[in-house]
């Protein structure tokens, strides 16, 4: 099974809204989940610059799902969701 890709936006705006702490997400994951994901940083995804400013930084992307106002909890939730989907296939 391919690993779940977790992208964390490290653009300036996301960083000042706390993206740095999102990089520590591994510390909050069980070992068996840790092995199934890969974490990477990405330059600004431009999500903060869209016209309809309902989107809130910081942003993360779990596989293709955009998470706005991301926290460790919401990212873990998304990862678990993806894992469940995979398992149910």
């Amino acid at each position: 099974m391919p690993k779940i890709n977790v992208k964390i936006c490290l653009g300036t705006t996301c960083y000042v809204f706390g993206a740095s702490s999102l990089l520590l997400i591994e510390q909050f994951l069980d070992d068996h989940i840790k092995n199934q994901i890969e974490i990477e940083g990405t330059p600004c995804l431009d999500l903060c610059k869209q016209e309809n400013k309902t989107n809130r930084p910081p942003f993360a992307i779990v596989n293709n799902k955009i998470i706005e106002n991301a926290t460790i909890e919401t990212i873990i939730e998304a990862i678990k969701g993806k894992l469940n989907n995979e398992n149910n296939k």
Binding site: L10, L23, C44
Partner: protein, 395 residues
């Protein structure tokens, strides 16, 4: 561009053993864009505070006189007459070496200091000196030595106080001190081994050797200045997306045509560069070493350093303001950027002027300054505090 010479100047000093302050003084003045440089080394009579005062006074006066008047002989005479007189010896005394560099024309005036050494790569060059003699108001004679020449690539001017030339005096190896001839061969050996040795490293090597000859207890203040004429090391500093997308291509052209180091500060800017050059961006994530204040660097093939923009730039200015020496600070993206900045002589700033709309959000928890203002502050620090040459282009 081809004829450009960068003039690197450094000095090193060790004070006399058991003294609190060095009686030698070294001073450099650079006029805007290095159109004229004046360096003075002065050795005050005796040692300690009194000597320091004499030396500081002499070198400051010398630098100011030379800067404002043309007649060296007159300036030197005035200096000699102005110095306070020593009570015991009834003489006013501080020796000096003044180096004035205007474009490539070098003038050196020496008064009682050991002769300077001129090298071209590892060869010692002999210079004809003109003696200027005169009589002071108190009937004392004085003699100055004047040398004039045109500098070229690979020239080094090495000048020092007698603490260097007399180092080791009384030892079996050097009964009358290290001496000019031995110092010349020492210098030429070092340059042969390390043809690109910086002014700083060379002056350090010379004073360390002098100190060793004095059995690590310097018998006099030891000071050595080195002036090195070399090709400038150049840096292209890119930050900020251009105001108009059609100019993206221009940034890529600048990179392709540049001969030197390149840094990019800014996520969007790095994306533009990567796209235009057809390269990938990779973040250098060390998950065990995350700094909540400074975002991590990333890499693009062919670029020496890629950092985030506004936060990193703001912190860089803060560090440049606060510190002068960065070797003891733990490495982080800001320190990496500063090391590259300080390692180069001429820095070309290519600054995009597009405003980042996401930074205008009033909810942003810290103050983010406008790029143009940060860059202006950075440039003035680099020019005034760190003596760099800069060029700024907005795009």
């Amino acid at each position: 561009m081809k004829d450009e010479i960068f003039i690197e100047i450094h000095y090193s000093n060790i004070k006399k053993y058991n003294q609190n302050i060095s009686g030698d003084h070294f001073l450099t003045k650079r006029e805007k864009n290095n159109s004229r440089i004046i360096s003075v080394l002065s050795d005050g009579l005796g040692s300690g505070v009194k000597a320091k005062v004499l030396a500081t006074l002499t070198s400051t006066m010398a630098a100011n006189y030379i800067q404002n008047f043309k007649d060296i002989k007159k300036s030197a005479k005035t200096i000699l007459q102005t110095l306070p007189v020593c009570n015991i010896r009834k003489i006013s005394y501080a020796t000096f070496t003044i180096v004035e560099i205007k474009n490539k024309d070098v003038r050196i005036i020496e008064y009682d200091n050991p002769d300077f050494i001129l090298t071209l790569n590892d060869k010692i060059i002999d210079i004809n000196k003109k003696n200027l003699t005169g009589i002071l108001n108190n009937k004392r004679k004085y003699e100055l030595k004047l040398s004039q020449f045109k500098a070229q690539y690979g020239n080094r001017i090495i000048f020092f106080s007698d603490g260097v030339s007399q180092a080791g005096m009384g030892t079996k190896k050097f009964p009358i001190g290290w001496g000019l001839e031995s110092i010349k061969s020492f210098v030429s050996e070092i340059i042969k081994e390390q043809p690109e040795i910086s002014a700083f490293n060379l002056s350090e090597k010379i004073i360390r050797m002098a100190q060793r000859l004095d059995q690590n207890k310097a018998k006099d203040d030891i000071t050595c200045g080195v002036i090195f004429f070399r090709k400038p090391r150049k840096l292209l500093f890119i930050s900020g997306p251009p105001i108009d997308k059609s100019k993206d291509r221009e940034i890529a052209e600048h990179i392709k045509n540049f001969n030197g180091q390149i840094v990019i500060c800014g996520g969007t800017t790095s994306k533009i560069v990567a796209r235009e050059l057809g390269k990938k961006i990779k973040f250098n994530l060390d998950l065990n070493n995350i700094d909540p204040e400074i975002p991590p660097t990333s890499s693009i093939d062919g670029i020496d350093l890629v950092t985030e923009g506004t936060i990193t730039l703001g912190k860089t200015v803060e560090y440049l303001e606060k510190y002068s020496n960065f070797s003891n600070i733990k490495s982080n993206p800001v320190i990496k950027l500063i090391n590259i900045l300080l390692n180069n002589d001429k820095i070309y700033f290519l600054i995009g002027t597009k405003i980042n709309e996401a930074h205008q959000d009033p909810n942003i928890p810290i103050e983010l300054e406008i790029r143009r203002n940060i860059i202006k502050k950075m440039i003035s620090l680099l020019e005034e505090k760190f003596l760099k040459e800069t060029e700024l282009k907005f795009i």
